[in-house]
Assembly symmetry: C2
Amino acid sequence: MPTEFELIDSYFANSPVNREDVVLGVGDDAAVVQVPEGYQLVAAVDTLVSGVHFFPDVQPDALGHKALAVNLSDFAAMGAVPAWATLALTLPEVDTAWIRRFSHGFEQLAQQYQVQLIGGDTTRGPLTISVQLLGYVPAGHAVRRSGARPGDLIFITGTLGDAGAALAVQQGMLDAGAELRGALSQRLNKPLPRVGAGLALREVAHAMIDISDGLAADLGHILGQSDVGARIDFDRLPVSESLAGLVSQLNDAAQQRGRMQIKDVDGTRPAPWPGYLDFCLAAGDDYELCFIAPADAEDRIISELRKLECPMSVVGEIEAAPGLRARLADGTVVTVQPGGYQHFGNDP
Amino acid sequence: MPTEFELIDSYFANSPVNREDVVLGVGDDAAVVQVPEGYQLVAAVDTLVSGVHFFPDVQPDALGHKALAVNLSDFAAMGAVPAWATLALTLPEVDTAWIRRFSHGFEQLAQQYQVQLIGGDTTRGPLTISVQLLGYVPAGHAVRRSGARPGDLIFITGTLGDAGAALAVQQGMLDAGAELRGALSQRLNKPLPRVGAGLALREVAHAMIDISDGLAADLGHILGQSDVGARIDFDRLPVSESLAGLVSQLNDAAQQRGRMQIKDVDGTRPAPWPGYLDFCLAAGDDYELCFIAPADAEDRIISELRKLECPMSVVGEIEAAPGLRARLADGTVVTVQPGGYQHFGNDP
């Protein structure tokens, strides 16, 4: 069995990306890079665990892609430029074919964003992948979660719920034809981070987050850290044609995956919203951006994102009163909590 | 069960270290820090896996200490200043007492070196800990593995083999009294990185590495990357009083853990060196520094390390001919290879 060092060396040392700012890459005790003058260092880390974040039989190239993509998505949410990555890879065995395909998936995405792998640690153990992404942002210009102000609009890139639906299909809760299944699983297994959009929004967004745990939870982080509340309109949540085509099945599927905890004002009657909303609000892994910007910036945002061919929707508004509220199609207003709903007026 | 976010938030967000150069720490999509002007960024990552790098019943505070210590040791070997860390922690269950003790061990060492935890990802799965350490070095002054030159001396800080002996004690291969057992297991479970020594050696060492896989393998990396060879004197390898006290048992223990592959010139007779050398050369986890410096720097090095109360030994010399040779007590010269010995002249 090759040593850890040889493993990393042979499969990851010859990165197709060779940045001029890398002083010392893979193969010493640590890596050395040059952060450009006037910029601050940005660092994100995300771990994927077999059986928790992905099915053990997932395609290795998709896994390599996703391990980097989830970190690129964090960078998108900061408006930061990705540049360098380290990889902590724990493998049950040395399967060279697997490693080659994993590194291929990782490198293809790395090449797209000119991210160079500068270090890593390959160890034996249960399959776990932890990528640390490093990069930079002009000093003082990182987009935080804490800048949302009452009156600002809430924007979402792309569509929500597809990754959650893909998972439900794989778990046998949803029945989809081959084509639909393929489109959905692409969203779950090979998410496309919105790095370009994040950079384009850096000077206009008051706050930004990527949607990895579902809109309710992630928007909830912005609200909490900005000390504000919000109202979203369920009718305006962007759904893909794939998800729309499954709407008739989504009530049952939502039931199976455990519907949101819901309570009417008298504590008994479930609220009447359709099951697809569970997928938009409380299913993770979409990796779209949720960002907050002033209403008068809407035209500029539309124009910037159009250049990138990045779809965008306005889904609600920041309000001074704490909490996340939602307006249903019938005009009913409910309160939404990360991991569960409660009817408006019944906030414990 | 608290969410990942809440876990990190409650146990790791309130770092006792609050650096002025941290623009944005734990709690956003990524962290933002300011690398000082004129310095380059240094990054190291090391993973510890339960059952592979530590016994599942190890004290959680020792584990928190070691997860950071192994990375600090990499920084020591670069002559770099540690500053910020991220923690990817995969846990089978949310055991708050365990997490509290783990974070206590981590933070105590972090505080000693003024390292601030700026981000992390806590996930559910088999116990795995991956720490990424970030910091800086004056531009162009990182100590690499590639600078050793023929005629340079080979230096070692501290003593070798204690961590390997501690492991052998735990595995029942060595019999040690309570006091000796305690001294040895301290070396294995709570190694003390040589960060100060690494910084003191930055302007004088031609090459440096920390000894994590055993001297033969780690010095071998320096030789390979510097395109040189070396001769070490077995008699000069520094051993602790603890290890010296076990010498009579170490032949048997070395036998049990699988002795080095050894061959005499005729391919049959095992070489006659004592078992303790197996522990010095091929047992890992000592986290001492092996560094290479010109002979005329020896006085300066002695003086610098004395100020730090850091023990130091000269164990050999860099030579032009490739390969690692060793002189035994009886004058015999053998070749040493990472993971095994071969008698001089029998190098395949």
